[in-house]
Subunit: 339 residues, 3 copies
């Protein structure tokens, strides 16, 4: 990560299509957050409140909102969306800094002869591609990753080291599956019988769309009879559990450690915080925001913001309050009786 | 998953030991949920309330409760337990559709010469079986899976791709360990010393019984001095954490994302929901049901259903109520003082 | 785990620097918890309340607090910190019982020719060490583990089977990364654009100090622009999520299933329970204790103990109380109006 990379400010302005005011030949070696932006850095601010921090720092250049153009005395790129411009700059650095795919299949990778692998695919050592799997152009399969039989990986998709894509899963184009993720394990389906459990074999698959990101150690189970579906543009953070037959709509974002129980349908453009638990067999409509740590124990039919959870207290206060919680219904009855 | 499979309805009725009313020679290619049951499908219903959906659908056949035999006009299998019959049908499809174990050790698997592997075992590419491990007849070790030294895997057990079974772990017969699961990592045992921590080396193992299922990315730590125990018939979903010296009794089922802290003992035939957190050093008796998202902060001595958790609200209401929670004890005192 | 190991009590006393009273030539084969301490075992007690259990058991020897020296009639090691003495004994057994590193690189490991690997390093089958990685003396890389390009692993550090350390990560000396852990996956950084998400490429790394332990299936993401930092002596249990740019101070201990959102800074010597969720962009000062299952939704500026969470009830009571929770603000207003 410490390799030497440099860009002229002029190059960067062109790359993010921003108007440049100042010295286009100045050279920057890294992007920095505004509070640590020193020499040879470019930074960005998204609003007026960061102006003092910017003044204290000494970056070579800064991306600023168009409306602050006159308030910044240093070399600056004017943008209608500085955060998006920053995202696009980050790609320039990533392309130079990150291990580059070489389009080779490492001799210590194992690719079944019946698999269909485009000629531009990179497969690292220890990866295993099983029978009849299909891998599209320019995709990369990391070290130790497994692509199960009959699975299809699209183009420009990255399956990171030690990720597992089991049989009969499809992943679209431009998607990423991070390390430790497991896609297509059996859904948790069991029929009770005589005190024990008989397995319901999970005959569905998993369909993952284009431009989807699946975080490290996130699990997406295959469906019982039909497919579990993650639609285009969905972004899932780490350690998320997606149970069988869940459907997640386009562009929905879900933060880490959230669990979604079976057959729940989540709409498009939702934003779901971290450590949320969502029960099974419910529907969440489009454009819903759920704050971190909430317990979604019912369907949500109206767009908007939803929450639950017991916020932090000192332990002594909590112990007292928690005792009262157990008698809350009685307390309410007392109040009502007296009113 | 899309291979062509077909069964006659007569075959299916015999396989699940159900009385058949209708055309035994009709052919079905797939099992469908009742709401999507179209031509060439068999479906199942578990009660009267699904009759309208069944009427709207057009399956070739249906499994129905015996008592509804007369209310269904199409080819039908009569069962005293349609859900169980469905589970058994699912096995027929799975046997035809899933990648079949071939009883071979892939040349790119690594099996230590001191390991003892039955002749009918399948080991996929990239799997590693270490010194003195034992693997019983007809078991399968998936691609990239690791079986540690001195570990014993029973017969007909499946260790899925990229699962990790560390040294000194035993797994019984007919069990499954899904991808990404880690069995036998060190329990979290530390002695405080001079502001830091000294590791308590974990000398116990993990004993997993017969017909146990362990979900993807679930972790079961080895015991400190004695073993962590998962008894016969236990089913654990994905992303569950089982700490050292936990004991889980026969046929208990635990849903995804639940965590169980050290030395807790859970009885038999319990059903524990998803995202439950269970503190350490407690006992939960047999036949306990804990609903999703609960915080089990004490022992449970009586069978029954237990819950906790703050249910969902709109965020505005939640913010107001949460503030009041912090003064609940004071509120209760005020009410009592006035009564 | 069942290999025959034996020590004389005299050896053990010397190893933990304890005064021995009794038969130094007595032989023990294992350490046992006091309630199960039988023949040929050594056990330990940390206080007077365990004396009856010790009397019922029949260990060969026991580690006792100095002040109980006269109350114990059997062979005993006197210690000012019996729990710490037990930790140190556990190491003696571990050294004899656990698979020993052999200082060899297994022929089925894949080590890039540009990697720099000390001559005493053990690398197991199926492990992959990528370009320019550096691995220090006496470290061990388990089967199926991946060490990414440009990463540095210190001395005497263990990366367990199927753990993943991605590119540009540094890990200090004497640390452990357990199986299934993923260090250095991309942080969850996205810029909203036209209803979708543009990836913010994560250009930072992860820096992990000395004597750090990372649990199984725990994930530590790389930073966006700067590094995610886990300082010396930190111990993290299983299934923890550490988001990008989090900083965890020296000797802090965190139990399983806890999630920490992005850019949060946690001080030194904190103890954070299991299944805690901690929001992003906050600071927790040194010496904070957070009990299990808490929701840390704000910064903590004073050392002390903090809690939250709804404790367990029977489901019927919970349903009644939960309904009242939704109207808690109204209830409080009613009480106040009447006072």
């Amino acid at each position: 990560m410490k390799a030497a990379v440099s860009f002229s400010v002029g190059e960067l302005a062109r790359a993010v299509d921003a108007e440049l005011v100042g010295d286009s030949s100045a050279v920057v070696t890294h992007i920095a957050p505004v509070e640590n932006a020193g020499p040879a850095s470019i930074t960005f601010i998204t609003g007026r409140k960061y102006l003092p921090a910017l003044e204290r720092a000494a970056p070579t250049a800064v991306i600023v909102p168009v409306e602050l153009a006159e308030q910044v005395p240093i070399t600056r790129l004017l943008s209608h969306n500085p955060y998006l411009a920053y995202a696009r700059l980050s790609r320039l650095w990533a392309e130079r800094l990150l291990p580059e795919p070489n389009g080779f299949i490492h001799p210590a990778a194992v690719v079944d002869p019946t698999a269909s692998v485009a000629s531009t695919v990179t497969i690292d050592a220890g990866a295993v591609v099983q029978a009849n799997a299909v891998i599209g152009a320019k995709s990369r399969i990391g070290a130790g990753a497994v692509i199960g039989s009959e699975s299809e990986i699209g183009e420009n998709t990255i399956v990171h080291p030690n990720a597992t894509v089991l049989h009969g899963v499809s992943v679209g184009d431009g998607s990423e599956i991070h390390g430790g993720a497991v896609i297509g394990a059996d859904g948790f389906g069991w029929a009770p019988n005589a005190g024990g459990w008989e397995k319901i074999h999970q005959l569905g698959g998993v369909r993952i769309g284009d431009r989807v990101s699946i975080g490290a150690c996130t699990t997406v189970d295959r469906g019982a009879l039909e497919d579990t579906i993650i639609d285009d543009g969905v972004i899932l953070d780490n350690q998320i559990q997606v149970a069988h037959n869940v459907v997640i709509g386009k562009n929905t974002a879900i933060a880490g450690c959230t669990g979604i129980a079976g057959s729940t349908i989540i709409g498009s453009n939702c934003r779901i915080g971290g450590a949320v638990s969502i029960v099974g067999h419910i529907r969440i409509c489009d454009d819903v925001l759920v704050t971190a740590n909430s317990f979604v124990n019912r369907s949500i039919k109206e767009p908007g913001s939803y929450s639950s959870g017991y916020p932090l207290e000192d332990s002594k206060t909590w112990r007292k309050n928690a005792v009262r919680l157990h008698r809350l219904d009685q307390l309410a009855r007392n109040v009502i009786l007296k009113s």
